[in-house]
Amino acid sequence: MAPVLQSSQPWVEKYRPKQVKDVAHQDEVIRVLNNTLETADCPHMLFYGPPGTGKTTTALAIAHQLYGPELYKSRVLELNASDDRGINVVRTKIKDFASVAVASGQRQGGYPCPPYKIIVLDEADSMTEDAQNALRRTMETYSKITRFFFICNYISRIIEPLASRCAKFRFKPLPQEVMGSRISYICKEEGLNLDDEVLSTLSVISQGDLRRAITYLQGAARLYGSSISCKDLINVSGVIPPEASEALFFACKSGNFDLANKEVSNIIAEGYPVSQMLDQLLDMVVEADDISDEQKARICQKLAEADKCLIDGADEYLQLLDVTSNTMRALCNMPEDFTYEA
């Protein structure tokens, strides 16, 4: 059965780097970790950055490289948001694991096997503040025999006392060239051919998120065979075609509320994600040169508010309609304040 399962992995998993040196673009952390591999010395670590930039990959790779397959299970505890990590777990499971003494460092089977264990707390930004606070003591008490790796998207969600105990590394969105070369590598392995233009389109639409780029690539490869065009990629990625956002912007300029309302309804019926629409609207407004700075400010402020509301779970149609109406009033120089509000 085993070989079948091997090939049933999606490409993102298939091409997850197994070694730290294969992680692209995150040079700083790689340098430190390579050092760790040599000296077996390692601080507590905090990795943060946007999705799909290699945080989890790096943490797992270093753990595997340090201990090898045999010791891995006994030396590494990986907890992520799919595990309960409430304060109870911190007090019991994590503490128990952290307190176990380990044999002094001796290389085994070609792996450094340093004399400490590693606890990887992936997606740590979803841990409650209480749970994080409960960790402080554990971290300190067992710092000789345990290292913590925190991984998160937003560093601001990690409490300061924890963050200050760690060496912090920001994982940067991957720039076009780097992404291009990684994608080219995958293409070679999978027997696809992409030209440069397509490669750069792929980098642009995935916005520095390599995982997303790989998923798009796989999708496009399945749908359109081995030669893929820019249009195919755009189809797969579901970005909103510029015509749709332009139509909305045009309706705003027209000053006709009903027309704008119709555009908004249409966007919703087409199923375009409104958060993305707001992004595209922002780009258009910022780049337009026939709009005054004051008007731009008015529009952007509302865009920001709507973005926040969407995150709170507000309705997409109503938010987009509100943004559209506000944009229209700004563009047509209607007064900023409402007339009839008590």
Partner: protein, 417 residues
């Protein structure tokens, strides 16, 4: 069987709409290594149909032999045990569920149940061609942030034994990290002419005579929801057959109700009634309001919700805040008490509050001057957002109506003196 179910295409090969998406899906699952999928699009656009057909494409007809299970799970959460009931729909190769049903406990469903299911490899018999099973999760946009986070690593870690198919209305509410882990499939609402085609197709199968333009009228009223179009088509059939060309397309009863509410709200607004001086009304009604509030907080079944005693004080504050808002517009208030009954009835009939609010807005926009539209749509967005932050949707609906009434009143005064 309802026509919506009877004429639901069973396989990707005979889709009536979204043939293009179906074609793509077929290619996508032609190999073993397809990525996780996220279907998104407005309700009634046909996501569910596509997903079911996709499952059939993957697993053959065995995916249709489903059994419904309602199981109580005991989850050990450290100090206490949590019991969650969950309904699942499963075949040998897939499990479908709606994790957001567990409300604020949805995290446990993801952490315990879904993870457990993802971990276990499916029993692959010699004939089985898939090395993985599929979990279909509905309404992922309603999952809490925490629950969504909990999905992330599960999606990666067990990807060799399990694929997730996620389904939602608005992909903005699904976190970036989840979206980055899936191939996103947008399912747009069918266009009116596509709906007409489907209706005509059904008409033919049922052996019905359709007058010219009849299907088009239904399609126009359907708001681009195929489900809704088919439902009202069937209703028409029940109400009157043979069809006549001017036969009325029955609106949904709740929509009619909303439009009644709207005319109620706007009726009372004659400027003459506003002749009272502002302040005198305020004093007059204030004691009344307070009395009302005290009554509410004592009897403890505001709207028959059966509050516990300790929620009284909170309720009291909530009511106080809302009513403070309201008492500024005391004339409005009397009306509001009547309107409230109707709104409450809508909500108890399980019409989601945001749908009610959107419909209210829709009706209002149809009747208002351009000048007011901006203002009203702003407040609709404002109160709908508040609804998500607060607890009781009805308060925010009322607040919106009160706001509207006061705006409308000032508008009338300014216009007609």
């Amino acid at each position: 069987m309802l026509w919506v179910d009877k004429y639901r295409p069973k396989s990707l090969d005979n889709m009536n709409v979204h043939e293009d998406i179906a074609e793509n899906l077929k290619k996508l699952v032609s190999e073993q290594d397809c990525p996780h999928l996220l279907f998104y699009g407005p309700s009634g656009s046909g996501k569910k149909t596509l997903i079911m057909a996709l499952l059939r494409q993957m697993f053959g007809s065995s995916s249709e032999k489903v059994k419904v299970e309602n199981k109580a799970w005991k989850i050990d959460a450290g100090s206490r045990t949590i019991e969650i009931e969950l309904t699942t729909l499963s075949s040998t190769n897939h499990v479908e569920m709606n994790p957001s049903d567990a409300g604020f406990q949805d995290r446990y469903i993801v952490q315990e149940i879904i993870k457990e299911m993802a971990k276990n490899r499916p029993l692959v018999d010699a004939k089985g061609k898939r090395g993985f099973k599929v979990l279909v999760l509905n309404e992922v946009d309603k999952l809490s942030r925490e629950a969504q986070h909990s999905l992330r690593r599960t999606m990666e870690k067990y990807s060799s034994s399990c694929r997730l198919i996620l389904c939602c209305n608005s992909s903005s509410k699904v976190t970036e990290a989840i979206r980055s882990r899936c191939l996103n499939v947008r399912v747009n609402a069918p266009k009116e002419d596509q709906i007409v085609n489907v209706l005509e197709f059904i008409g033919k199968k049922e052996g019905l005579q359709l007058p010219v333009g009849f299907a088009a009228r239904i399609a126009e009223k359907s708001n681009r929801s195929l489900r809704r179009a088919i439902l009202s088509f069937e209703t028409c059939r029940v109400q009157q057959y043979p069809f006549t060309s001017n036969q009325a397309i029955p609106p949904m009863d709740w929509e009619e109700y909303v439009s009644e509410i709207v005319s109620d709200i706007m009726k009372e607004q004659s400027p003459k009634r506003f002749a009272y001086s502002y302040t005198s009304c305020l004093c007059e009604n204030f004691t009344f309001i307070i009395r009302k509030i005290i009554y509410i907080s004592h009897c403890g079944d505001y709207f028959n919700f059966g509050y516990q005693p300790d929620t009284h004080s909170i309720l009291f504050l909530e009511v106080l805040v809302v009513h403070r808002l309201l008492c500024i517009f005391c004339i409005v208030l009397c009306r509001l008490f009547q309107v409230r009954g109707k709104i409450y009835e809508l909500l108890t009939n399980c019409i989601p509050p945001e749908i009610v609010l959107k419909r209210l807005l829709y009706e209002l926009l149809r009747k208002l001057d351009d000048e007011l539209k901006h203002e009203v749509c702003h407040w609709a967005a404002y109160y709908e957002h508040r609804m998500h932050l607060g607890q009781k949707a009805i308060f925010h609906l009322e607040a919106f109506i009160a706001k509207f009434m006061s705006i409308y009143k000032s508008f009338l005064i300014a216009t007609f003196g």
